[in-house]
C-alpha cells in the first residue's frame, strides 16, 4: 500500500470524524438532559431513519470486510454464514420488535422486570446485557486495530494500540455527549456511506462481467483452485462432524441471538409507536438483505478478479478482500481511480467500526445506569441523576473495551462476534420470550433463565478449543479443553430455555395474573406505552 492511499484514506476518515463530531455537538446542544432524550433520542425518529440506523448498527466491520473475505477463501461457506444474520431478522420482526417497544422503556430488563420482582430480575438481565455488549465491543475494537494495520500499511504494534485507543475515545465522546440522538444520526450517516460504497463496487463488478453472473461465478470457481466445489458448501465447515456441528451451533446462535442484542433492542425505543417499530424493522430487513446480497457478490467478484492467493498473501483471514477488489476495480494499484476507491473503502470501514461501537456503548451504558446502578445503589444514598450515571458508565465501558480490545488483539473477530450472539441467544432471548408469552413465568424462572444461559455459555467457551488445547487457541500451552465446539450456542441456548422452565416450575411463588394481563395487553395494543 503506497503513501497515496494512506493520506487520502486518512483525509476521508478525518472528514467523517469531523461530521460525526459536529452531529454530536448539535445533538448535545439541543438535549434536555432527560433519560428519554439520552437513551431513546426523544422517541421521535421516523421508521425510515430508524431502519437505516438499525442497518448501520447491525452491519459491523465483520460483515463489510469479513464476509467477502470468507467467500474469497472458502466460497459458498461464506454465504452460509451470512444467511443466518438475515433470517435472524424474522425473529426480531415477528416476536420482539413491536412487543418490546410496547412493553419496555429503555432496556431489555424493563420488559421482564415489569411483571416480576424488580431487583433480582433487573440485576440479572442488566448483567447479561452488559456481558453481551462488552463481548461485541471487544470484537469491534480488535477489528479496528487490525484494520489500521491492514489499511494504513503499518503493522507495528503502536499503530494498532493507537487505533484502538482512538476509536474508544471517539465512541465515548459520541455517547456521553450526544446520547441516542447523536448516535442514531451517526448510524444513519454511516449506513448511507456503507450502502453507497457497496452499491458502487457492486455496479463496477457487474460492469466488469457485463452483467453476466454465471461467468462471474465460473471465473471465481476456476480461479479459486477448487473448481465447482467452490460454489458448494463444505470448504470451511465440512471437514469433520465437529466442524459441522460447530457451524450448526453458530447458525442457531446467529438466528436467535439478534433478538437478544441490547443495542438492537434499544433501537426500537427511538420511534414513537409499535407500528413505527415494525416499519423500521421492515426497512432494516430490506436494507440489510440488499446489503448482504451485494456483499456476497463482492466476495465472488474478489475471488474472480483478485484471486484467493493474492488476498491470502495480504491477510490470512481474508479481511483485505474488499479493499483489494476496490484497488483492482479502480484500475490497479498505481492509478488514480484505484487509489481513490481504496481510500473510500478504507474510510467506510473505519466509519463502520466507529458507528457500531458507539451504538453498543450507548446500550451498555443504559444497562449499567438504568438496570444495575438503579438496583444496586445503597438506599438512602445520595441521589444522582440517572443520565449522569449513564454518561460516566459510557466512559467506564469505553476504558474497559479499550483495555480488553488491547488484550484480545490476536483473537479472531468472527469468533468474538459469534460468541456475543451465542450469549445473547442463551441469556437474553429465553427470558424475553418467556416474559412476553408465558402466563406462568415467575421471578425465579426469569433469574434462572438469564444465569442458566449466561453461565453455561461462558463456561463452555472457557472449556472450548478456542481457549486451550490446540495450536491456535488463546493459551496453546495449556490443555483444559473438554468441550469440542468453538461456539457454545447448540448447548447453551437450550439450557437457557430449560433453566427458565425449571426455575418456574420449582418456584413456590404464584405467577401474578394481573401483571401478566398487563404485559399481554400492553404488548399487543400499546396501551400506556412510553
Amino acid at each position: 500500500m503506497t503513501g497515496g492511499h494512506q493520506t487520502l484514506a486518512l483525509l476521508l476518515f478525518s472528514g467523517f470524524v469531523a461530521v460525526t463530531l459536529a452531529i454530536t455537538t448539535w445533538a448535545s446542544r439541543r438535549r434536555h438532559g432527560s433519560a428519554e432524550e439520552f437513551y431513546a433520542g426523544g422517541r421521535l425518529f421516523s421508521p425510515m431513519e430508524n431502519g437505516f440506523a438499525i442497518a448501520g448498527d447491525y452491519a459491523s466491520a465483520a460483515s463489510f470486510l469479513g464476509v467477502p473475505g470468507l467467500i474469497v477463501l472458502f466460497g459458498y461457506d461464506g454465504v452460509l454464514y451470512v444467511v443466518g444474520f438475515l433470517v435472524a431478522w424474522l425473529v426480531v420482526l415477528f416476536l420482539v420488535a413491536e412487543l418490546v417497544r410496547n412493553c419496555g422503556r429503555f432496556t431489555l430488563a424493563d420488559v421482564v422486570a415489569s411483571r416480576m420482582r424488580e431487583r433480582p430480575v433487573r440485576i440479572a438481565a442488566g448483567a447479561s446485557s452488559v456481558t453481551v455488549s462488552v463481548l461485541y465491543l471487544v470484537a469491534q475494537m480488535v477489528g479496528a486495530g487490525s484494520l489500521v494495520a491492514l489499511l494504513i500499511g503499518r503493522t507495528s504494534q503502536a499503530a494498532q494500540v493507537w487505533a484502538v485507543i482512538g476509536v474508544g475515545a471517539l465512541m465515548v465522546v459520541y455517547v456521553s455527549l450526544g446520547g441516542m440522538r447523536a448516535t442514531t444520526w451517526i448510524q444513519i450517516v454511516k449506513a448511507v456511506l456503507l450502502l453507497g460504497g457497496t452499491v458502487t463496487l457492486t455496479v463496477l463488478v457487474l460492469l466488469r462481467f457485463h452483467g453476466d453472473l454465471d461467468r462471474l461465478l465460473l471465473t471465481a470457481a476456476a480461479r479459486s483452485g477448487h473448481g465447482p466445489a467452490f460454489l458448494a458448501p463444505g470448504l470451511k465447515y465440512g471437514a469433520d462432524w465437529t466442524a459441522r456441528l460447530d457451524f450448526i451451533s453458530l447458525g442457531l446462535a446467529l438466528v436467535l441471538g439478534t433478538g437478544g442484542l441490547p443495542h438492537i433492542l434499544s433501537r426500537f425505543y427511538t420511534v414513537p409507536t409499535a407500528r413505527a417499530a415494525r416499519r423500521s424493522a421492515v426497512w432494516s430487513v430490506g436494507l440489510i438483505g440488499a446489503y448482504y446480497l451485494m456483499a456476497i457478490l463482492l466476495g465472488f467478484g474478489a475471488a474472480a478478479l483478485v484471486g484467493p492467493q493474492t488476498v491470502r498473501a495480504s491477510n490470512a483471514a481474508g479481511n483485505t478482500a474488499v479493499p483489494l477488489l476496490a484497488l483492482d476495480l479502480g484500475g490497479g494499484p498505481d492509478s488514480t481511480g484505484g487509489t481513490v476507491l481504496f481510500a473510500v473503502v478504507a474510510a467506510v470501514a473505519f466509519a463502520t467500526i466507529l458507528a457500531v461501537v458507539a451504538g453498543i456503548t450507548l446500550a451498555s451504558s443504559a444497562s449499567v445506569a438504568h438496570d444495575l446502578y438503579a438496583s444496586l445503589r445503597r438506599r438512602g444514598g445520595r441521589q444522582r441523576s440517572e443520565v449522569a450515571v449513564a454518561r460516566v458508565a459510557a466512559v467506564g465501558i469505553g476504558v474497559l473495551a479499550i483495555a480488553l480490545g488491547l488484550l484480545a488483539r490476536g483473537m479472531n473477530v468472527a469468533f468474538l462476534v459469534g460468541l456475543a450472539f451465542a450469549v445473547a441467544a442463551s441469556a437474553n432471548l429465553p427470558v424475553l420470550l418467556y416474559s412476553l408469552f408465558w402466563r406462568g413465568f415467575t421471578t425465579r424462572g426469569a433469574v434462572w433463565a438469564v444465569y442458566g444461559g449466561l453461565v453455561p455459555a461462558l463456561v463452555l467457551v472457557v472449556l472450548s478449543p478456542v481457549v486451550s488445547g490446540s495450536p491456535d487457541s488463546l493459551f496453546p500451552g495449556l490443555d483444559f479443553q473438554y468441550f469440542p465446539l468453538q461456539n457454545p450456542g447448540l448447548v447453551s441456548v437450550p439450557l437457557g430455555f430449560l433453566a427458565g422452565w425449571l426455575g418456574t416450575v420449582t418456584s413456590a411463588e404464584l405467577p401474578d395474573e394481573a401483571r401478566y394481563a398487563e404485559t399481554e395487553v400492553r404488548s399487543l395494543t400499546g396501551a400506556g406505552a412510553a
Partner: protein
C-alpha cells in the same frame, strides 16, 4: 377481580368498529403529559433523581410499591378486564395464529438449509443450470423467503391487527382514566 368501574367486556368495541378518526393519533397519547395509572410510566418515565425539567411535568409518585394497585382494583383490574374481553382475545389470536406457524415454518426452513449444507454437501453441490447449483439456489431462496415473510407479516399486521389494537389501546387508557376520575 373485575373492578366495578370497568365497563362490561367487549361492549360495542369489537374489532370491526370504525376507528378512522383514531388512526392519525397513534403517537399522541404517548407524547402528551397525561398520566395513566401505569406502573411503568410512573416509575420509569423520567430517570430517577432528575432535576425538575420540562419532562418532570409528569408527577412521579414517591413510592411505586405503594402506588401499584392490587389485582382487585385500579389499573390491574382494567388490564385483567381488557385481557378477558372478546376484542382483545381476537387481536391476540390473530397475532398468534399468524406468528406461530410462520415462525415454525421459517425456523424449520432455515434449520433444513443449515443441516443440508453441513450433512449433505453432495446434494447441495448438484448443478442446476450453468454455474447455479442447489446450494446457491437454496441460499437465494433464504433471502427471498425472508423478504416474503417480512412483507406478509407487515401486511397481516396492518390489515388484521392495527386497527383493533388501536381501538383497544384507546379503550384501555379510557378505562384507566375513568377509574382514576371515579376514585378521586
Amino acid at each position: 377481580m373485575q373492578s366495578p368501574n370497568a365497563r362490561p367486556s367487549g361492549a360495542g368495541d369489537g374489532p370491526q368498529s370504525p376507528a378512522e378518526n383514531h388512526e392519525g393519533h397513534a403517537p399522541a397519547p404517548a407524547a402528551g403529559p397525561e398520566t395513566y395509572d401505569d406502573p411503568w410510566y410512573d416509575a420509569l418515565a423520567s430517570g430517577w433523581g432528575e432535576p425538575a425539567g420540562p419532562d418532570a411535568a409528569v408527577e412521579v409518585p414517591a413510592a411505586r410499591r405503594v402506588q401499584r394497585p392490587g389485582p382487585d382494583g385500579g389499573a390491574a383490574g382494567v388490564y385483567l378486564a381488557v385481557q378477558r374481553s372478546a376484542a382483545f382475545q381476537e387481536v391476540r389470536s390473530r397475532y398468534r395464529r399468524f406468528v406461530v406457524p410462520m415462525v415454525a415454518v421459517f425456523l424449520g426452513w432455515y434449520t433444513a438449509y443449515v443441516v443440508a449444507a453441513t450433512a449433505a454437501p453432495g446434494f447441495m453441490a448438484r448443478p442446476v443450470a450453468g454455474a447455479m447449483n442447489v446450494a446457491l439456489l437454496a441460499g437465494l431462496g433464504q433471502f427471498l423467503s425472508t423478504f416474503l415473510f417480512t412483507w406478509a407479516y407487515a401486511r397481516h399486521a396492518r390489515l388484521r391487527r392495527d386497527r383493533a389494537a388501536l381501538e383497544l389501546r384507546w379503550d384501555t387508557q379510557e378505562r384507566a382514566r375513568g377509574l382514576r376520575g371515579g376514585a378521586s
